[in-house]
Symmetry: D2
Subunit: 353 residues, 4 copies
């Protein structure tokens, strides 16, 4: 069912995690892209469908050892679905070979190498590319993404939070020194790693905050909100772990600078701002978005409230952390970079129930 | 992204349940079909995306009152996604108007009107069509389905159980008087109805058998197994409710007539029998299929065991109860009836994790 | 295993919900109390263990029609485990008959009848008792509870939020005009009612905010926080539904009036304030309480953070919504009223995993 | 609240797993027992309540390195809550020192050392004690348990399956060559180990069979059923993993030797057999036991069916795998050994919802 036109060959570095299998799932239905390489140091030689039985019949591909030369030879574009500290080591060689990259890891999200090393506890291995890397939130940076060699795909929390605050900050409507983001994520946000706290027996039927004193996504969020506000912002950000597989919900509050602004005005502002965005959906007034409404889909759904009619605006924002919060947004960025229709391969509805 | 060729118009009667929303989800990605009508007595006038927020942006369609004349005028094919006892009342008029039907309810699954009324507690309203109705298990009845006016789409348990036993019964390899099927279903199998036992607080973190003295799917299963065996069969069938949304697993056991038959022989038999079936996947020896490997996908995955090397063969069979167990199989039947590629609209991988 | 001393007879009005069964569970292990009456209009005549199989072997008691005279004759103390609008109709007669009452419903939580009727949409039926009713948060009102005829047992959100803010407000350490409470509850908080949104298929693997424009617990919380602060407060309160059975987590933020106050100072303040409270547990610095650590137990666990070292204090508070958030606190209040050891019947550890 | 009489000191070897924390939870409410030692090689020095926050306030005890001499000096009775292959190495020294032992591991469950080493892949380290060890299913072996030095606490599947078949086998009512047991367990049955398949993201919303070709509990079950039947039996046993924390359900089928035996006869047989058993509950005809009805409680609930009135008897059996399937049964055995009331510390109702 591949549509007419050139077929692009893409590679995935680090394909054994959840963002890797989600890229494979999404790309299996993409009419103009073929996955030509998928790498894993630990699983080299093993067919991807042995690790991910949902892919049986969809891929006849085995993991290989990561090798920049091979990637350069066999791929037009490469996704990094690795933990931080991998992409930044291979990046110079790949870019030099003419490969374009969408990096789903945190390596190129912060433009400030100092800030990066403060949060990640080691020096940045490739600071010379930080200025060139384009922050891949299409709703903010579409034009730059189109021509980028290197796109830093946003984190899941940053995506949910930035999209929710975006119109308020662009229009300078709220006190940027007093922003709050309370967010809850499904356990897949923690990756496919054998850790006791993420066992069903530990994370099931349980709810907790984590990283309350400081989460690595905070500097990325504040950086992005600062760009939107054209001013430094201050955010209290508290992430939580919810007993579910996928899904992320952010509850955002801010104080209105002008309390005479009505909820209806704000609703119009949001609807107008996102009217032409294919993957942001502003719900009608009175709504509460649910994470299940975006399960498996590359959509952020938002709704607005003004609790008690007071001068606080409340934005509710949901995404699938693995899709609009990771692999779906990466495919969206790829589509933009390859001059394909932005929604290509991303238009299936969410799985509900 | 509609492919070339005629576009067919389909209708859905009773679209407020889980099989209804699943039909809508699957058909949204189908390149040759448009949903032109969706009915609901209780929700008439309401947009489908108000009830099912995953469909926002995918359908600009509202529920209407069910009316055979309208359905006949606007649809080439109609799905019934109703409880039993609805389809059989509208069927004569629809068929007379030249509409073809895939009925997801139980109304036309049993060929014996007496048997039907014993299990459903009332007379069958349309016994004259029972002989014509084709039982819509494509792996058994593909040729008949192609020309059918009325296809009775199998139940979820019957699909998982029949596909698992199929090669054994066709080849008369097991004692058909001593078949066992232990099966577990996600809660979506109980439908979208406000019932206390299906609350998250009641069904969550809980496991139980139900219908142990006799479940309505039993006669359908025994009928189908009887066709496969060309002989009446006797099955002990125990369904269970598992604390999950989707998914069905059947564990089937039978005594081998010829105990010298090796597990490898059986494996070959299964692989050969299903080699050309697009939606049945026989796993390698030693495997245990998981329901999540088919979440959202129109696939039945099977594996074979011979516990302790004794003369019992064990088949494990998983499906998504809403897809291969209901709406996906209905679309598969529709594809066959409309002479479309059988996999059209059904080739997306399962959602994992 | 009943200890020496008088045995008290208690009644439960409205015993078919989750707070009812939880009272029965807790009281089954209480050495000085016997449940003599349990009422239900809809289930009169049915043994409680038919409805709640966990109670088989523990109670030989059937539901009866609610009748004030019978309750007065057979009970020293009565719990109301009813929806709002029931207790306030029976209260005068019961009190007149000398029965003492712990009301788990919302009827007597607000002291302002106007405010009550604004949120509940009807006039209060018994405003003359509002002044006498004692708000049953023992950590705030222990002395008054001891002698009360009528104790209004707090709601679950109010309990988690008030305990978390308590030391900060008592000591006037934070800006009371800018309080935030984001809270998540398990589905049992919605009661044992047949509603589609609470089905496992709808609430499972899902997270959402609700009541964002105004939840009925807000006035109760603001009233209690106002008492603690000796001043009106302004709270942004957003409740969420988490896909779990039990458990409630509140994430509270406030701006420190004196930013030189260190996190260690705040920790000491909390530890001192709750040192003699048997059911409030302040975790060590750096902790994040988990709802599962209080599953089934009458405990509120708290921890403190100061995100990024900024002038915001963050309190994390977890309870079991059915225990410290409802029935456990009711038993605690009963113990105080009956001059029994406050922890009697409430000292079993939480169920983990 | 310790009752009058001697207080016994018990030790727990290997207390970092789920059976360890469950022993601690249960013993916290036991009026005649104090936990004096709890060991862990990996966590020595750490307070138990750091690892298990539900125990905060209940234990002032830290893990220590396991040492037989210390255990002997400080304990009247020792529980082994270890993986297999630990207890059998320390056992001779402990017994020699006069300590009595309840071993929750598999080391002494099989009386045949050959069989043990076939299933566990190594020689048994202490075959000389196998004959002395008493299989700790009180409903079968109460008298022997009373005087035992060493009790081998049954596995969870064996408990659920043996109790369900017990009256049928004792009375020789079924064909013991054709027994079937399909069973489903919550994930806590797999222990508190960091394994990817047991992550919430992998085991959640999922159902699968495992060990279908042969599970280590099978020889233990067949051994126990053989004792009951006074004859070797043949069982097809298929365990499954259900997406829940606790709970185990077994669905047992057998062919009646005498088909004229009515379901009512069988019901009477079961009720009579278990009438004086405090922890076996035979439900009324027509029931289906639920695992949540025993969550946290030391109970096995059973119900009987005769599907379709055919000559097959179906027994449904539920337990909490960590309680009657492990730690609760261990406490029950301890009570018997110490001549305490058998139900002491085990009489709290299950946690529902």
């Amino acid at each position: 069912m591949k549509a007419t036109g050139q077929t692009f060959r893409v590679g995935i570095v680090g394909g054994t995690g959840y963002t890797g299998v989600e890229l494979l799932r999404l790309l299996a239905s993409h009419p103009r892209v073929t996955v030509s390489v998928i790498t894993s140091r630990t699983e080299a030689g093993q067919p991807v469908s042995d690790l991910f039985p949902n892919l049986r019949g969809h891929y006849d591909l085995a993991f290989t050892d990561p090798d920049p030369a091979t990637l350069a030879a066999q791929c037009d574009l490469v996704f990094f679905a690795t933990p931080h500290n991998v992409a930044m080591r291979m990046m110079p060689e790949l870019l030099a070979a003419g490969v374009r990259v969408v990096d789903l890891s945190a390596d190129f999200r912060l433009t400030d190498a100092e800030l990066w090393s403060r949060w990640y506890g080691e020096p940045h291995a490739c600071p010379e590319l930080l200025a060139e890397a384009v922050y891949g939130l299409p709703e903010m940076n579409r034009a730059k993404i189109r021509d980028a060699r290197l796109v830093a795909n946003p984190g899941c929390y940053p995506t949910a939070v930035q999209l929710g605050f975006l119109p308020l900050l662009e229009q300078s409507l709220v006190d940027v020194q007093r922003l709050n983001a309370f967010a809850a994520s499904g356990v897949s946000g923690a990756g496919r790693q054998a850790r006791i706290p993420n066992l069903l027996t530990e994370a099931g039927d349980n709810f907790k905050a984590y990283g309350a004193s400081g989460h690595r996504h905070l500097p990325e969020i504040e950086q992005g909100l600062g760009w939107l506000a054209s001013d430094p912002v201050r955010l209290t950000f508290v992430p939580h772990l919810a007993p579910m597989i996928r899904g992320m919900q952010a509850t955002l509050t801010a104080e209105l600078v002008d309390p005479t602004l009505s909820l209806e005005d704000l609703q119009t502002l949001f609807e107008d701002r996102f009217a032409s965005e294919p993957f942001v959906d502003v719900l009608p007034l009175g709504s509460h978005p649910e994470t299940r409404s975006v399960r498996g889909a590359n959509v952020c759904r938002l709704s607005l409230h003004r609790p008690q009619g007071r001068d606080v605006v409340l934005v509710l924002s949901v995404i699938d952390n693995l899709v609009k919060g990771a692999s779906g947004q990466a495919v969206q960025n790829m589509n933009i970079m390859l001059d394909l229709p932005e929604t290509m391969g991303l238009d299936a509805p969410a799985l509900l129930p």
